[in-house]
Symmetry: C2
Subunit: 404 residues, 2 copies
Amino acid sequence: MINKLYFDYSNKKVEDAAFEAINKEQEHIGYYALPEQNIQPILDYEKSIDVACDTVVVIGIGGSSLGAKAIYNFMKPLNGLKRKLFFLETTDPLEICSLIDILDLEKTHFIVISKSGNTVETFAIYKYIYSFQNKASAYTFITDKNSQLDQHAKAIGASVLHLPDNVGGRFSVLSPVGLVPLALCGINIQSLLDGSKGVKESFFHDGYMKDILLKKATFYAKNHAKYHINCLFAYSESLKYFCEWYVQLWGESLGKHQKHSAFNVGLTPIGLIGPKDQHSFLQLIMEGTRDKSVTFIKIKDFCQSAIIPDISLPHLENLDNLNTLSFSTLINMQCDSVIEALQDQGDIPLDTIVIETINEETIGSLIFYYELLTSLVGELIDVNTYDQPGVEAGKIILKKKLAQ
Amino acid sequence: MINKLYFDYSNKKVEDAAFEAINKEQEHIGYYALPEQNIQPILDYEKSIDVACDTVVVIGIGGSSLGAKAIYNFMKPLNGLKRKLFFLETTDPLEICSLIDILDLEKTHFIVISKSGNTVETFAIYKYIYSFQNKASAYTFITDKNSQLDQHAKAIGASVLHLPDNVGGRFSVLSPVGLVPLALCGINIQSLLDGSKGVKESFFHDGYMKDILLKKATFYAKNHAKYHINCLFAYSESLKYFCEWYVQLWGESLGKHQKHSAFNVGLTPIGLIGPKDQHSFLQLIMEGTRDKSVTFIKIKDFCQSAIIPDISLPHLENLDNLNTLSFSTLINMQCDSVIEALQDQGDIPLDTIVIETINEETIGSLIFYYELLTSLVGELIDVNTYDQPGVEAGKIILKKKLAQ
């Protein structure tokens, strides 16, 4: 991936301190070590699943679903995946029942994921599914070691895999939480880790990524009060769920009380898909309040050579200059045009990320890039990037209501 | 629908002036009159489509697709729709080819929608589809009278329907732009209009909606510099595309240079779906910068009585208080818990909208409610709600690139 910043900012002292802090975090934050993990146990486990099973359903929500969903939907348009993957991540009865209606339970494997082992949504859905399917072999559980879910899995004799220590939900996509369902679908999880390892090594060993991530994070943090909305504008439908993953990662990590003050701070993530959102959100970026930065993601090679045919239609001749153009050229041309138009405004911080093509390695690199960026910005705006105390209050109220 | 504001604000003089301005706008802004239109021509047209056709594809982008998509996806989980509806609204080659792969062209009707009649994306896709399917009877066109697309449709002998005067793209869902594809799917478009008419009459004839919409719009406008992010948090997956429609309506209407100053202003829309986004964006609302208002949408009756079974699972007994609860009760309980937790913060403007159930009337009322709210806030923050000059620059650059 190539990341180009259209803003210039440098503060060597701040950058050095941030790098040191992140370097040190590796000792106690688990996600940094995931690119080097041994995936053999996951590959062995994958072989244990019946080849007749053609559908995998993840029962999980938030950090337990968004990562695998992002990668699966990025890879899916290329076809050739081994199994279909669905997600049960809501208590909306219509959504749950619509999915169950189309499942062949005999050919479906369920992966129940809950880090803490006590997520209300996940258990409500699991119980419901269990009333249709009570064979332990139809389930795999992924949870923290010794959680109640871990004990449950062992009690019913189902497979269980554990999260490594100190890996939070929204940083867990490269742990078994993401790797297990993806491996079951035939996605090359080693390539995924290789992609993330490339970014990691470049960052920690004085490569290209160190310079660019530090510059970008320092700029975002320095200007977080002014440019507090960070748009990710991806020019491909295949990145739609990557944007949702980014929104969780960014919003839940960076919206906090500061560690050394009582102030509420936060950077608001927005995911956009081009060219569709040129006809929606772009007007607000162009002429609205100057509070938004924009990162464009472009895919160089779509692995799809569909071409606009060389035909002339009555009264539409003025569009004949589209003829013989490939759609992949057109979509990237549209992206470039919007970048140029925004550049002309002069006061909107822009950058572009270009990935080579659609494969496991590129999405792996994007994921680790955003995880590192989040960690850096969190350090620089003085928040605890890895907790989420703000969601507890609602859970406590719900528990009280349920107890009544 | 019942809308309850958890903030108190009133400025009679400002409210009266805004009401007068909107009342007067009815003379030249077309969308206000749509609830009373005669839909007989659309119903007659629907009968002219071959009953063997089981799939409808809208080729259109932005205002030409988001409205019908919102309503179709709201109604779809209930099943029983007459035809499937798809949207071609991107130049992403993978997305276009994935859809074409699953279409049976003999049973598919295409609706090409472009208000102006010269949208690049729409024509690129139309040309591509035309190279597979060149029978005029497979197409219907919806565009402004006398546009080049109107002339094209007539030249090839295809059906064409027109937009009423002065109806902008993002306010066009209740015009043929939305009604034609929805009618083809068997959605009761008269009920849809009846729902919108209820809100319109209540607003313009001193009903409940007048008071509440004026209060809410005045509060949003008065505080637009502080609470400039407006989250719509809908507790049902069926409202996912309604949120996308809202994002376009709100962002593109309100992100502008002010009419009587050079200032860039804007209100940033964010669509959220509960309970999923409790595990993503909620932390940022709870503890992040105090720049967000939140509107919750709840559905009282999901028309789906799925119940969490009365079973106890080993090591998960502490969740037995979920047993015998219906999912619809649980999801609304989750919503209430989050509202209470946010209320406790004391400085986040909240309101709730409760709709009775999932049908045409309720979604029609939601649509007109948001259109009126947008018009009011636009008037109050001094922008031209109905134009989108900011998107022109990118289009001009693209045209230059295409000409090269």
